[in-house]
């Protein structure tokens, strides 16, 4: 009996929280067939938003992959003062609200801030432009690669790497031929998670991008802007494509997740 109640509660909870809203969006999107969906996503603004989203997400993923693997190796293989602090700092982006991240970035890289002003004179505009959006996205998705790779790296141990050294392999050869194959699955998992998070980022990007339609508008910002302007067809269409991308990445993580035994 108790089990049935528990199951019913969980299902109801998921129904109202997840299934119903997402399902309704999908239903609204395709209410009048595929035509309006395709039309809504073929406008210049929509296509631009797709491009911006992909560029920003790819940059953020690339940065976090390099940073994530490097930091994981540092934390798993080396002892140094400040290690615990670094380890704690990595999780900070999970705790800080993305809006705060955005504001903080504006404070540092805005045109009238010291660092931002200096960069501006050097011809690099960070805030209200792609570099700032990449920074904001990279910030919020920072822990994902580190946290996926670190436990696997620790579990792997350094004996294989030491064996490679005694066999004459350089640091780089050892990294490429021994370390990377050892963490491949975990790295893939972390990268896909990071990509999913980057594609869906809204708050931090909303602050630093300035939401310039056709310039710094990502897909999530596009959804919001269309919705505010009563263009619900476009809003739902873009929202559905975001959801579909999310489901696809989830499927990929599912494929990457299982047994990394061999």
């Amino acid at each position: 009996m108790a089990r049935h109640v528990l199951r019913l509660t969980a299902l109801t909870y998921l129904l109202f929280l997840l299934v119903l809203p997402v399902g309704l969006i999908a239903w609204r999107t395709f209410e009048h067939g595929l035509g309006p969906f395709v039309a809504a996503l073929s406008t210049e603004e929509a296509r631009h938003a797709f491009r911006v989203t992909i560029v920003v997400a790819l940059w953020a993923v690339a940065l976090n992959t390099v940073f994530g693997v490097g930091t994981a190796i540092l934390l798993a293989r080396h002892e140094f003062p400040g290690k615990r602090l670094l380890n704690a700092l990595i999780d900070l982006p999970l705790a800080v609200s993305p809006v705060v991240v955005g504001l903080a970035l504006v404070l540092v890289y805005g045109r009238f801030a010291p660092v931002g002003g200096w960069l501006d004179r050097a011809g690099i505009q960070v805030i209200f432009s792609v570099p700032g959006m990449v920074l904001a996205t990279a910030f919020v998705s920072l822990p994902l690669v580190v946290r996926a790779v670190l436990p696997v790296l620790a579990e792997l141990g350094d004996e294989q790497e030491q064996a490679a050294y005694t066999l004459g392999a350089t640091g780089w050869q050892t990294f490429r031929r021994i370390t990377v194959p050892g963490i491949r699955a975990a790295l893939g998992y972390g990268v896909v998670l990071c990509l999913a998070r980057s594609l869906g980022e809204y708050g931090a990007v909303a602050v630093v991008s300035g939401r310039l339609v056709g310039q710094t508008q990502t897909l999530t910002l596009f959804v919001e802007e269309r919705f505010q302007n009563f263009d619900q067809v476009a809003a739902y269409a873009a929202a559905t494509s975001l959801a579909v991308i999310a489901v696809l990445t989830l499927l990929v993580t599912r494929l990457l997740r299982p047994k990394d035994s061999r």
């Binding site: 064996a163 004459g168 061999r262």
Partner: protein, 321 residues
Amino acid sequence: MAISVHHVDKSFGDTPILRDVCVDVATGSLTALLGPSGGGKSTLLRVIAGLEQPDRGTVAISGSDVTRVVPQRRNVGFVFQHYAAFKHMTVGENVAFGLRVRKRPRAEIRARVSELLELVHLEQMADRYPAQLSGGQRQRMALARALAVEPEVLLLDEPFGALDAQVRKELRTWLRRLHDEVHVTTVFVTHDQEEAIEVADTIVVLADGVVVQSGDPQEVYDNPATPFVMRFLGPVTELGGRLVRPHDVELTGEPRPGAVPATVSRIVRLGFEVRVEMVSAGRPTWAQVTRDLARRLDLTPGDTVYLRPLAERELLAAGAP
């Protein structure tokens, strides 16, 4: 000398692991670093390989000082206790690794790999992954991988430690034969005195980070430098306050010069040998005698017998460390 370690100190934090260690390993020898767990054997081996940096002292391989040389350039082969197999590579690729990173020609690598796999009897396994091998096979693969780069010295860290008793014995004999075939200077770490005596031609006893004694197995066994070494290398018993090997105790039914009386308390027959437990001057002692002698003396508990050490050896006081 193939390896010369001079006055090496090494600590981890505040814990000293090696203290003023000096070891010379002759070219072509098969040397055992023997000692109890935590005695610093593995650390010494890792210092020789360059996987640990000594705090003080020098390491020379084939006459050249390599103390500050990275492991890649020391030309040593290292075999880890838990094999350190490259799990994502086949057996053949594992063995080829050292040659690949040296960018040797393909044909040469292929020839060398099949030659080595034959040497370690794994020629059928070249395309398997390490996970598909038994422990003994994995260890032989690790050995072939280390030998592939033609190292000047081969270092084995508890090579048979993770294997079961039967495989251990087989591999031991096999390693001895392999060394006779390949002649590469080899140093292996073990805590098993039987293994050291059976396989090595030189034994270095290490305890608490200090070299206690080194020499050929017979010498270390027969003339131990300290009671510790004597106890560690084989069975011992006390006789009149001195340490003796139980098989070096002469047991007679009649009193003789230099012999002390003892009362038999128990007799244990272990196949061809008989273990006679006695009390002499209020202290327990025992002797290992042949079945034949035990029958001749018709030993039964309560008998009085006479004991004296068999050989004219320098005996160690039991009380000393």
